[in-house]
Assembly symmetry: D2
Homo-oligomer: 357 residues x 4
C-alpha cells in the first residue's frame, strides 16, 4: 500500500477513521508561500459533514494543527505536517463488520490484503474521513497555484437524474471558478439546488443513496505543462482522483462523448486572437498529447452512490464462512457528491502543482 503521491510535490496521508489522529505530510512545497488559513478552513468546511440534512449529521469538526513547515504563516520549504485529532470517537457501531464485510466497501479486499490486521473501525484508513487531509493539502496547493495565476474550481454536474449546466469548455473564467470553489453546494445554476436536495432526500428516506458527477476545471495553466506517454496531465490527475473513495470514472474534455464524435466536428482548430494563438474550441479539455494547450483544463469524475445504506443486505461471515444478513447501523450520507466537490478540487490542485514543480 502506498498513501504517498507525487513526483516533486509529495503528499503522504495517514490516519484511521477512529484512530488518534489523521493528517498528512506535504514534502516539496516551495518556501515563501504566505498561507491563508481562512481559505484552508473554508475548503475543509465544504468537505465536512453535518452542514445540512443532505449529509451525515455526525459532528466531524476538522480542527487542523500544523506541526512543521510553516513559520509566521509562511512556508519554510521543509515538509509541512498537519494533524487533525479525533475526539469522542464511538466505535461500537462498526463491531460486526470485522466479521461481515459491507457490500461495495473495501472491507473484504482489505481483509484479504492485511490478513485481518487492518483497523476496520469506521472504515479505518479507507474511510472517507481521510479525504480531510487531502482537502487540506489541496487548499495549500491552490494557494501556491494562485501565485502562478492558476485557479481551480468544481461543481456538482449531476446527482441522480438532476443536472447542473456544464462548463462552457472554452469559456471558463477565473472568476467563475473562484466563485464555485467558495460554495458549500457548488452549482453553476444555483436554482438547481432545491431540486438536487429533493433528489437526495428521496433516497435518504428510502434508506438508500445516490451517485453523481463532479466537473472540475482549472484556468491559467500555461501551454506546455505535462508530458506525453507517462507524464500526461490526464494520467497524473487520474492517479490521484482514483485515490478518492467512490470515484469510478475520469474523463477529460468531451470524454466518453468522443466515442460518437467525428473529427470534423470536434477537432480543436487554432486561430490568432489579439496576436495570440488561441483554440477555437476546447473539446480536448485543455490537454493534447498529455500536455496542456493553455485552454482551460476540464474533467469530470463519476461518483458512485455511498455503499453504506441502512437497508438489510446480503453478505458473508468471514469466520463461519456462512451467508449472513447485514444491517449497517448509524447514520450515513445519502449522497456524498456535494461534500466531494472540494476533494476533487484538491486532487486536481495537488496534481497540477506537482506537474508545475
Amino acid at each position: 500500500m502506498s498513501s504517498v503521491i507525487g513526483e516533486r510535490l509529495k503528499v503522504s496521508v495517514f490516519g484511521e477513521s477512529h484512530g488518534r489522529a489523521i493528517g498528512c505530510v506535504i514534502d516539496g512545497l516551495e518556501s515563501g508561500i504566505k498561507l491563508d488559513m481562512d481559505a484552508i478552513r473554508l475548503d475543509m468546511a465544504r468537505r465536512a459533514p453535518g452542514k445540512d440534512k443532505t449529509a451525515t449529521p455526525r459532528l466531524e469538526k476538522d480542527d487542523f494543527i500544523i506541526l512543521s513547515g510553516v513559520l509566521d504563516g509562511v512556508t519554510t520549504g521543509a515538509p509541512l505536517a498537519m494533524i487533525i485529532e479525533n475526539k469522542n470517537v464511538k466505535s461500537g457501531d462498526y463491531d460486526n463488520m470485522l466479521k461481515v464485510p459491507r457490500p461495495s466497501h473495501s472491507d473484504y479486499p482489505a481483509y484479504v490484503k492485511y490478513g485481518g490486521h487492518n483497523d476496520i473501525s469506521g472504515g479505518g484508513h479507507f474511510s472517507g474521513r481521510l479525504t480531510a487531509p487531502i482537502v487540506f493539502a489541496g487548499a495549500l496547493a491552490k494557494q501556491a497555484l494562485k501565485e502562478k495565476g492558476i485557479a481551480v474550481g468544481a461543481h456538482i454536474k449531476s446527482i441522480g437524474s438532476v443536472s447542473d449546466e456544464s462548463f462552457e469548455l472554452n469559456g471558463i473564467t477565473e472568476r467563475e471558478l473562484i466563485s464555485l470553489s467558495s460554495k458549500s453546494f457548488s452549482l453553476i445554476d444555483e436554482k438547481k439546488e432545491e431540486e438536487m436536495r429533493a433528489e437526495i432526500e428521496r433516497y435518504r428516506k428510502e434508506q438508500n443513496s445516490i451517485g453523481g458527477i463532479i466537473e472540475c476545471a482549472a484556468v491559467g495553466v500555461p501551454a506546455g505543462v505535462g508530458g506525453n506517454m507517462f507524464d500526461t496531465v490526464e494520467g497524473t490527475l487520474s492517479k490521484i482522483l482514483f485515490g478518492i473513495p467512490a470515484v469510478k470514472g475520469v474523463e477529460f474534455g468531451l470524454g466518453f462523448d468522443f466515442a460518437k464524435a467525428n473529427a470534423a466536428e470536434v477537432n480543436d482548430e487554432y486561430e490568432i486572437n489579439d496576436g495570440e494563438i488561441a483554440l477555437k474550441s476546447n473539446n480536448n479539455g485543455g490537454v493534447l498529447g498529455g500536455i496542456t494547450t493553455g485552454a482551460p483544463i476540464v474533467l469530470r469524475v463519476a461518483i458512485k452512490p455511498t455503499p453504506s445504506i441502512s437497508r438489510e443486505q446480503s453478505s458473508v461471515n468471514l469466520e463461519t464462512m456462512q451467508n449472513e444478513k447485514l444491517v449497517i447501523s448509524g447514520r450515513h450520507d445519502p449522497c456524498i457528491v456535494p461534500r466531494a466537490v472540494s476533494v476533487i478540487e484538491a486532487a486536481v490542485a495537488i496534481g497540477l502543482l506537482d506537474l508545475l514543480s
Copy 2:
C-alpha cells in the same frame, strides 16, 4: 517528459515516428519466463496498420529485435531491450506542420514545451507508432501474467453509433478473453463487424474519422492486489492508459453509469459459493477501495476520433502568427479503435504485472 512507467516493473519507451528505430526497455521482469514469440507477433500484428481498409494502408511492418534480457528464449532477469528499425521513411508529407500545428494533435503544446526542437516528422515521439513498443511490453506482461493464472482481453465496445455487446461484469471467463485477445477485429458479437466496418467506411469516404469505446477485462487476479489511496488499481491502470494517444476517459465497472445509480440497486453483495466467498454482482469492476476483489477487473476507455483528416482545417502559422488553412496530406486511419484494442490490453497487462511484482 517521462516515457518511463511503473514502480517495480519499469517500462521505458523511446523513438520517433520517422527516426532510426523505436523500442523499449523493460526493467524488473522476473527471470525464467519462457517467451512465446508467436504470441508477441500476433499482438503486434493486431496493432499494425495495413491489415484492411479500415486502417491506414501504409506498410508498417513491426519486426522487433530483442537486444538483451533474453537467453535461449527465456528471460534472464536483466533489462529486456527491444528495437524496431524504421525503413523507407518518407518524411516530406509532414513538412508544413513544422509551422502550422494540426488541430487536436500534440503539435502545438509540444512546440511550446520543446521550443521547436522536437522531431515533428510523423508525429515524432507523440506518434501512434510509439504504441508498438507498448504492445510488445504488454505481450510479455501477458505471458508473465499467464503463469500466474491471469488472462487479459479486450473488445471494441462501440464505434460511432454501432455497439458490440458489453461484458457480463460478473461472468467473464478466461476462455472468452483468450479468444478476444487473438482476434484482429475483436468483438464479442462477431456479427457486428460488418456494421462497424460500414460505419468506419462512411467516415473514411467523407475524409473524416470516428471515435469509439474499448472495453477490457482481466480474470484470475486474486483478491488483495493494489492499495487504497495512491496505489489503487484504477489509478495505476489509468496512469498508463492515458499515455495512449486518443484516450480521453477511463471508467471501471459501471463507471459513469454509477452517477444515476442507487446503492440498493448496485451494491455488490457477497455470498458463499462452493465454500468460497463470491460476489453476487460485480458493478465495481473487480476493485473496491483500490484493491482487487477477485472478481473480473473490467474497464472502458473512450477513444477520440483520430484528428488527422484530409479535410481543410483552420490553424495558425507559428512563424508568421497569421491564420492559415491546413490540409493534411497522406493517408490516415478513419478509425483507430480496432487497432487500439491490443494497445489497451497491453497497458492493462503492464499495470497489473507492476502491481503484482
Copy 3:
C-alpha cells in the same frame, strides 16, 4: 527538498528543531508486526542527549506518540504516523544565526535554497534532532527484520585517535549485534570506553569537537537481495546514510583499504561448509555486484566533528555583507558519535527492509 526515502517502504520525516512537533510517517510496513515498545524506547534513549557528559546536557525527552497504523500493538498495514511533541523550547540562543551562518552548518546553503524562509531556530529541519524519527522508524524496521531472522548492530569504531576493535568481517554473530544494539556506548571492546570518554572530554574542555567512525553490520540477510546497477545494497544504504547529519563517507567491507589491496589477497573465495556454500573471507562486506552474498553486511561511516563549537569563528553577515565574528552560545555535543550509533543502525535497517519489501 525531499525528506521521503524508500521505494517500497517509504519513510517521510518532518519537523523542525524548535517547532511544535517532529515525527515521521512510515508507509508500506507489513501488517501483523507486533511492536515491542520497550525496544523502540531503548533505541531512542541511545540516541537521546543528556545521558552523560559526553553529550549535550539539554533535556530532549523523546516521548513518541503513535497516531495511526497500529491497533492493539500490532501494525495494521496502513501508514504508521508518529510524533514527538516539543516542550519548553527556548529559541533565543539562535537569533543571530539568522544573519550570520555558522561555519560547516547548513545555514548558508539553506538560506540560499529557501530564500531566508526556512526555520533556522535550533537548526530547523536540518537539526540533528530530526534523527529521532529516523531512529523510531529504524526501531520498527529492526523488528520487522527480526521476524525474518535478521539482526542489525553497530559500534563506535573510533573517536579521534582512540579505536575500538573492528568487526571480524566473516565472523559476526547475531548475538554480538544484539548485544551492541542494546548498549548506550556501543563498543566491542568495552574497556575502550574510558579512553574514548577522555578523548571527548579533552575536546569539550577546549571548546572543540571531534569526529569518528561507526561500523555497522547485519547478519541473516539471505543471498540474492538487492540488484546490480542502481538497486545496489551499497547505493540504497548510502542514500539514507548520507541523509544523517555529519556523515561524510560510507564504505563497505574493506572499503578504502581496497585501494592498496591486490586481488590474490582479498578475493573472497568459496567453499562447501556443512553442505552449504560459504565464503572463506568477506572482504566485500556481504555484497557483490550490488547483491547480498549471505555473508554479514559490513559498512563504516565517517562522522565529522560537530560544527557547533563555542569558540569564536569567522563568518559573514548576510544582510550587511560584511565579515563578522560569531560565537555560538549554548551547550553543544563535543562528539556526536556515541549518539549516532543507533541512527546508523536505523538507517541500515530501514534500507534493508525496503530492499526486502
Copy 4:
C-alpha cells in the same frame, strides 16, 4: 533489479556483455542541447580497453548509434536511446563459470537471485562493459552541465602504493577539470604516470590485480542545489557511484579523514571576497546539510582490485556442491582504475544534472 536511475533525468541501462547490443535510454534531457559527438567519443575512448598494456587487450570498439531523441545533432526533448552493437563475440571463455562462480564477482549472488537464468557469459548484465552506456550518458550530461557553467573532471588519486597529488579542495579551477577530463591517463602530476604504470605492470606479471582511488570534482555548481535528509548531493551521487562495478567506498571533502579531525581545525568559515560570500576552506567538499555551498564538489571513490585474475582460485561447483579449483582464462585488466576515471565523471555528471533538472 533496477537499472534505471534518476528522479527527473532518468537513465535506463540495458545489455549483456556478449549479447546483441548494449545501450541506454536517457529520459528527461532538455531539448535544444547541441551535441558534441567528438567529446562523447573521447569520453568513451577513455573508458575503452585496449589502449595500452595497463588494460585488457581485447578489442572493444564502442561505436554508438543514437536511435532517437536527437535531430540534426540537437536534443529533441524526447527520450534519447543509444545502442552499441556487439561484434565477433567469443563466449567460450566463460563456459565453466556457469557452474563455478568466480570469487569476488557477482556470479554467485546473481545465480541465487535469478535462479540460474541470468546470462553469465562475459559477466552478462554485470559486466564492466555496461559502464560504456553510463559513460555515454555522462558525456551528454556533461554537455548539458557545460551550458550551465559547470565542469566535471576526475583523476587517478592512487593505484596501489603510488599516489597522485590531491585536489586543492578550495582551489579547483574549471580549466584544471577540463584538462583532466580529456586525458586518457588522468593525473594532476603527470610525472606519476610512469610509476603508476610500473605498479600495474608488477601486478599484471604476477597474474594479479591492484585497486586504487579516483578523485572527482565539479566546479560551477551554484549554492542551494540538493536537499537535506534524502535528497542530499552526497546520497544522490553515491546511489549512482555504487552502481559502478568495483566501487566499495565513497567520501566527500575530507571524508574518512574527518574521523580524526576536530572542528576548530576543519570547520569551513566564511568571508566576504570581492563582495561575494566565499568559504575560507572547503573541507566539506562543497556540500553542507546535503546542499551545495557553491564551493567545488569533491569526492573520492575506492576501487577494488578487479577480481578476475588468472591464478588458480578456490570455488565451488553449484551443481555437484563440491569444492572446485577455478582458473579464469582469457586476458583481464590488472587495474581498472585508469579506465574507470571517465565512468566516475559520468556518474557524477548524471547525478548533478538530475539534481539540477
